[in-house]
């Protein structure tokens, strides 16, 4: 994992940025806009998308068909971002997202990935023993539920659409969104009314 940047790496970065500016490839404004966009992205965006899909069938259909368009419909700037795909959990199917080759993550709608998502342990184990990994996150799947690991190896980025917890009938979209955490959107845990699972 990356630690504090060294003086050498900072000097190298400054030279690279200066060269890109000098050649007109990008401006300071471009950099600031991108930094602001990256800082704005957070799992709350993904949570709002899930809550809307739980309450609005047309939005749900769009989310599953074209995650990028669904994110844009929520005001997320997707230009330049990899396409977003959304994986629909079902009563007998649970999705778990990993990137075994590096750390591909749907940053546009979830923000920066957590430390564990990038760890060699998660990347190696999620694809080989997903049920043991889920158990370590405190996630017990109901009997009969199959696990589908989604290894994010190429140009898409993947987010899980979990099932709406029982007992939330009549809830507003805003209230539903408060139930959904980053971990639910990666698939290491399930949204629930009681706080049985927490963000790591």
């Amino acid at each position: 994992m990356a630690g504090e940047p060294t003086a050498e790496s900072i000097a190298l970065l400054e030279k690279l940025v200066a060269a890109l500016k000098r050649r007109g490839i990008m401006t300071e404004e471009d950099i600031q806009a991108r930094v602001a966009s990256a800082d704005r992205a957070s799992p709350e965006t993904g949570a709002r998308m899930v809550a809307r899909a739980w309450t609005d069938p047309a939005y749900r259909e769009l989310l599953l068909r074209d995650g990028t368009a669904a994110a844009e419909a929520m005001g997320v700037r997707m230009a330049g971002a990899p396409p977003l795909g959304v994986l629909e959990d079902k009563p007998d199917l649970h999705h778990l997202v990993v990137c075994t080759l590096c750390s591909c993550y749907p940053r546009a709608v979830l923000g920066y990935p957590p430390h564990w998502y990038k760890s060699a342990a998660y990347r190696a184990r999620a694809v080989r023993e997903p049920r043991a990994v889920l158990a370590e996150f405190g996630t017990a799947l109901p009997p009969g539920v199959k696990v589908r690991v989604v290894d994010s190896t190429a140009d898409y980025r993947w987010m899980v659409l979990p099932m709406r917890p029982a007992g939330t009938e009549g809830w507003t979209e805003d209230r539903l969104a408060t139930l959904v955490t980053r971990d639910h959107l990666v698939g290491v845990s399930l949204p629930a009314l009681q706080g049985a699972t927490q963000a790591a």
């Binding site: 997903p130 696990v147 690991v149």
Partner: protein, 94 residues
């Protein structure tokens, strides 16, 4: 135009080009030689094996391919699966 349609049985090429030259591959080693089923065509994307080295990446079809999880590792639960993005040039008919 993509070669495989959803539902097609495919095999990931049992090739290891990274052993003979520096490579940037997006095909996980645990799937080389494994059989799966095309779930859907994800579109075409520039070949990452070229653009990683600053070469023009010609567009290649990308598929979401579904594999049974247990045969890959000889452990795990029956019916569990792994779904992976694989480029067309890594797939052959099974």
């Amino acid at each position: 135009m993509s070669r495989f349609a959803p539902g097609a049985r495919v095999r990931v090429r049992d090739a290891w080009p990274e052993r003979s030259a520096p490579m940037h591959l997006r095909t996980p080693h645990y799937l080389r030689g494994r059989e799966g089923q095309v779930e859907r065509v994800l579109g075409t994307f520039p070949n990452p094996e070229a653009i990683a080295f600053g070469r023009p990446g010609e567009p290649r079809p990308l598929y979401h391919v579904l594999f049974e999880q247990k045969p890959i590792w000889n452990e795990g639960e029956e019916g569990d699966t792994v779904m992976v993005e694989i480029f067309e040039h890594w797939l052959e008919e099974a």
